[in-house]
């Protein structure tokens, strides 16, 4: 049996769902950020497998995932800077404590 496109796509879908679960249920802010990284990795796996199986000549998917990696790094840096700022003011990283803004 050969490696099939579907195997990779199923793996990516599973990783995506795990990421969503972590995003919704985590209470530690840093872990929420990690879940976002999981989501982006799932997307990257999708792009890479499409690129290999459907577009082996153009490999546009590979180029796309390099952009995703770049942006994810920038997003992580900004996210952690915001987390540091909020930690200095509030002295906690618990999502449930961040409730100053609500109606």
């Amino acid at each position: 049996m050969q490696l099939q496109l579907e195997f990779f796509l199923l793996l990516a879908a599973a990783l995506f769902c795990i990421g969503i679960y972590g995003l919704v249920t985590s209470r530690n802010v840093v872990r929420v950020l990690m879940s976002v990284e999981l989501l982006l990795n799932a997307v990257n796996l999708n792009l890479m497998s499409f690129s290999n199986f459907l577009d082996p000549e153009g490999i546009k998917g590979q180029v796309f995932s390099i952009f995703v990696i770049t942006v994810a790094a920038a997003e992580a840096a900004v996210g952690l800077a915001i987390i540091l700022a909020i930690y200095r003011n509030r002295d906690t990283v618990d999502m449930e404590q961040f409730n100053l803004l609500k109606w």
């Binding site: 496109l5 195997f7 679960y21 000549e57 990696i69 942006v71 992580a76 840096a77 800077a81």
Partner: protein, 198 residues
């Protein structure tokens, strides 16, 4: 039966199982440091999968950027906000987790149905040129504009992250009343007396 195919299949299975296990660890473990290291494991497995997908350059970029930069950054952040914090229990948390898990399983079922039902137009051409050459050509032809825009994005993300994370620098004339510096001019709601939940 062919040895190369078997090796590919076995390594795919191994990497896939490892990756899912590590990802579950990231979201489920209590200790945030373990999660961070397991996240590094997810990134490594992912780069192994990229090698299976004939993408050597992206696999290397994945290790350099994700493991080398993002994961290290996350570990630094964990150390900087280093406080043993026991979160106060919140009622109905189990219910919420259960509901989310259910939704996620449903989503997975939907996505996998979609993956299996869609007839993907697989292209079986064997290409022998190096991916690095191909990617370089793309960067300087049809993806030139996003490539240049990404440089502005990275510059501004760097500037902005430094602004937000550096220790406060309060200009001299504001030093007398540091209370107000770097805050919104509007009073917080507690002081205006409309809502007081604390």
């Amino acid at each position: 039966m062919n040895l190369a195919e078997d090796v590919q299949l076995i390594s795919f299975g191994l990497l896939g199982v490892l990756m899912i296990a590590a990802a579950l660890g990231v979201v489920l473990l209590d200790q945030i440091v373990y999660s961070a290291f397991l996240l590094g494991g997810v990134f490594l497995c992912m780069s192994g999968l990229y090698v299976l997908l004939n993408a050597d350059f992206v696999a290397a970029a994945q290790i350099l950027v994700y493991v080398g930069a993002v994961n290290v950054l996350i570990l630094f952040a964990i150390m900087l906000v280093n406080k043993q914090e026991t979160f106060k229990p919140v009622g109905n948390r189990w219910l919420r987790q259960g509901a989310t898990a259910l939704v996620c399983v449903g989503l997975f079922a939907l996505l996998s149905t979609m993956v299996l039902a869609t007839p993907w137009v697989v292209d079986t051409t064997v290409v022998l040129t190096s991916t690095v050459v191909q990617i370089g050509k793309h960067f300087f032809s049809d993806y030139l504009l996003p490539f240049e825009l990404a440089s502005v994005l990275l510059l501004m993300a760097m500037v902005g992250a430094i602004i937000l994370a550096r220790r406060d620098f309060i200009p001299e004339k504001m030093a007398t009343d540091t209370q107000d510096a770097l805050t919104l001019p509007e009073r917080p709601r507690e002081l205006t007396g409309t809502v007081s939940d604390r």
